[in-house]
């Protein structure tokens, strides 16, 4: 019994190959990045861990790069880094979402890869990544595969990551146009989301992209609402009628699939989506009279 205690091997990977080799040897190992979610589970005793591969010091997973209209974020990019000037100018909604995560200490440790790996319905970066139709690069010692985010996050804390695999990077398009992310919690900071909403504009395509957070097992794209708003906006004037705004908000609320839990009721969550979606749209477009 005591032997088992002493042996909880932790591989502190120094390179991507090192991490992948460790995962090949022990495909079921827990992948530890910032630890802001995993360690809470471990300390609570709700997650028992036999083996750990720590990827926090893998240089290939750090940093970001811009390639034409695509931004590639290493899985190890922290919330604080996403709030920085450069990333926030390319993907403002991701920066806004990152600011709602935890405390400064947590934002310095927690990573975008970790947020995806946890795949919580309340994951704060997920709605924006869904709206951006982010593409994940997933790597194992056998090679890489690319997966759109809606095929990666598949259920409550469930994702398509296979044993032996890790998330290497997340690629998102850099859109031209305003972005808004809003999140509700019963405290003004450091709070788990009760409902969240993201609205992105693409002025080249005259389109909006949107996503609802924490109101379903996975983030929800309200496609009907998106189409309505994209078609209803006067893109030349950046203006939209009150009627279209109302209809957009109602369709967003209709798309929600919320549940009741100790953090909020389903009825409140649906209501919140209706309010947030209209407010977000009003921040981006001026409300004109039809």
């Amino acid at each position: 019994m005591q032997a088992a205690l002493i042996l909880m091997p932790v591989t502190v990977a120094r390179s991507l190959d090192h991490a992948l080799a460790a995962l090949e040897e022990c495909p079921e190992a827990l992948i530890l990045a910032g630890g802001t979610d995993v360690m809470v589970q471990v300390n609570k005793g709700s997650l028992s861990v036999d083996q750990v591969v720590a990827i926090g010091r893998v240089p290939e997973l750090q940093g970001w790069s811009r390639e034409d209209d695509w931004l590639h974020l290493g899985a190890g990019v922290t919330y604080s880094e996403m709030m920085g000037k450069e990333i926030s100018s390319m993907v403002p909604a991701l920066a806004q979402a990152s600011r709602t995560v935890g405390s400064p200490q947590i934002r310095n440790a927690g990573t975008i890869g970790g947020n995806l790996g946890t795949s919580s319905p309340a994951g704060d970066t997920l709605p924006t990544l869904f709206a951006l139709e982010a593409v994940l690069t997933i790597r194992s010692s056998a090679g890489i595969r690319k997966l759109p985010i809606n095929q990666f996050v598949v259920g409550v804390k469930q994702n398509a990551l296979q044993p032996g695999e890790l998330i290497e990077k997340i690629s998102v398009p850099v859109l031209e146009g305003s972005q808004e992310f809003c999140k509700i919690g019963p405290r003004n900071a450091m709070v788990i989301s009760v409902a969240s909403f993201t609205l992105l504009t693409d002025v080249k395509e005259n389109q909006v992209r949107s996503c609802l957070g924490t109101v379903g097992p996975v983030p929800i794209r309200p496609t009907e609402a998106e189409n309505l708003l994209s078609n209803g906006v006067d893109w030349g004037k950046n203006e939209v009628s009150s009627e279209v705004l109302d209809a957009f908000a109602s369709l967003c609320a209709d798309a929600a699939q919320p549940i009741d839990d100790h953090r909020g009721s389903a009825a409140y969550r649906r209501h919140a989506i209706k309010i947030l979606s209209r407010r977000a749209a009003c921040r981006i477009f001026s409300e004109g009279n039809s």
């Binding site: 205690l5 019963p186 003004n188 409140y268 209501h271």
Partner: protein, 758 residues
Amino acid sequence: MSDVKTETPISSFRIGDSAPRPDGIPKVKGTFAFSSDLWHEKMLWGGTLRSPYPAARINKLDITEALLIDGVHTVLTHDDVPGEAVYGLEHADQPVMAAEVVRYEGEPVAIVAADHPEIVRRALAAINVEYEEMVPLTDPEIAESVGHIHPDGNVFRKINLRHGDQEIQGDIQVEGVYEVGMQDQAFLGPESGLAVPGEDGGVDLYVSTQWLHADRRQVASCLGIKEEDVRITLAGVGGAFGAREDLSLHVHLCMLAMRTNRPVKMIYSREESFHGHVHRHPAKMWYRHHADREGNLVRVEARVLLDGGAYASSSGAVIANAACFAGGPYRIPNANIEGIVVRTNNPPCGAMRGFGAVQTCMGHEAQMDKLAVALNADPVEIRLKNALKTGDQLLTGQIITGTAPVAEVIRTCAEHVPSSQESSDLMSLPGGAGRTADPEHISRGEAIAVGFKNLMFSEGFDDFSSAVCHLEDGVATITCACAEVGQGFVTLAQQITREILGVEEVILAPAATETVGSAGSTSASRQTWMSGGAVQKACEEVRLKLLQRITEEHEISIDDLVLVEGQVLSLNGDFSISIDAASENPLEARVEYRHAPTFPLDENGQGDAHVSFAFAAHRAVVDVDPELGLVKVVELVTSQDVGRLLNPVQAIGQLEGGAAQGVGLAVMEEVLVAEGNIRNASFTDYLIPTALDMPPVEIAAIIEHPEPGAPFGAKGIGEPPSISSTAAVVAAIREATNLELPRVPVRLTDIVSVEESS
């Protein structure tokens, strides 16, 4: 010999100075040793198996498998408790470990000592308990009328307070039903301690607590050994707020250490901590206020029901406070108040900052606002019109002989013009970092509330503190068992000693049961008065002994001598001697200090039950997003009656911290209990205010009218900040929303009616 100690910078802070805390820098730097940092080379780790059910019969408890695990040293149950099977602060009714039944979720059932925390965890998992679930009693409203869930019955205490005319009616009557949720003290340092078995059959316990000697009495009783064989030393306390007044792991640690003959350490996890200490009593209150057409209070009727949870703790004293102060700091000639605290299968409740007065303040202040509306009067004016003052009677018939600057507290708070801190940042609006609102979505509200409570223990309790002052070579050593839980006694004791003895170097001996008598509890805003008083008395006795010695040796009249900056000087300047030299032969005084006696309440809740009272007012400005139910407290102004200010920086700290706890209760802090089970036993879901939730506290006035009988004229200041702050914030939210909001904490869905909108 008087000039050798000039290297060390020695503080010379006296009474009235903002002396810095000796433990301040270590705490900021992380070098302060908290009780969770205790360590012994040979120690084992302890752990506790807790009931998953709020009410169940234990049909089988089998520890065989757990004992077989390598590294497990012992597993103990109810059958192993060597002394009394139950303990309690006022009334022993709580089992050290459950015997046949469990009465709340998280009740201890078995304890383990093992080589490593992980082995402890596995051993606890290997203990086989067969529970037969019972229907838990979770509704306090029916507790009085249903079958007993404990041999001592379901009513902890009932008070029928009758004062004046019981029939009189006022021309103006307002009525309301109010509710307060279960707040947690949310200290950051979880319960932890280390027990070391003594060779003499006794035990040394190092633990974070609020009252060493009350712990010793209860621990010795449960261990079945003499009190002097239990030696308790205070370990570094990471916050208390009432939650460390009851025993938690104390007896368990000692049992494990004595059984294994090894030191044993235990630390509760955060989740376990929520089950391991008492909470603030949830309250349901009905009020009817009667006033004449001029707004003078005629009569107050109230019924206050507190849910005490499974065991008594200090429920009896909490309901007495709730009843005595149910009307607020107002002149109320006639009253009938029914106060009742009952037993349920909910988590046990007990002491928390404000102790019964917080709950009723939320009720009586809502009533005063309703009265102002009914009379079309200004809420400040109606409070001023009825404000208590010295010479007035309380609901208990007691006449206030001390200071009672209620009107001054209200007026200064109402008139203060806060420094404007308007911000255009979206994050400064309700919703904060979530950026949910724009300025046009916001309604603003403003309101004032005032509250009060007793200082120190009441109802005839023999309330005292003890201290020893030892003066040798000019260095004073103070020994007092006062538990430093963050309130600042360690600073104050030094200030008092310097003030009286004129010395610079003051050493504080560890707080322990071995070296000095009881200091009483660090609670009830009492230590500045009680242990401050004991230190003052001990120092004055030493001072007198010192002067008498000099008088005898040098033929000088004692009246001609003063102590100044390390010297004893004659007034005419002809004689001087350093205190270092004069105390080469040590001098010592060992004292007990008592406040003026109090008396029990009679069958009508009447009597001189309290010693002294402290008053505070808060004015809150809140921004509310009515469509989403989100709130931001944007301004908080306070005035407080302190008697005399002994340490301004520490006083401000109390005023700010207490107000933050009050804001928390108003807008977010609640232990959510469903069918007896806590649903948010973590800091992920038990929310306390962050910097974005708590505005800077503006202090309108710290009111200094020295309290007769109090050492240095100083009143305790720890609790008043958390009494009226909650009431002010919820009243401001009412102003912003025009909603009745009869319950705190105010939840999102109390403000936004979701059925209408969806």
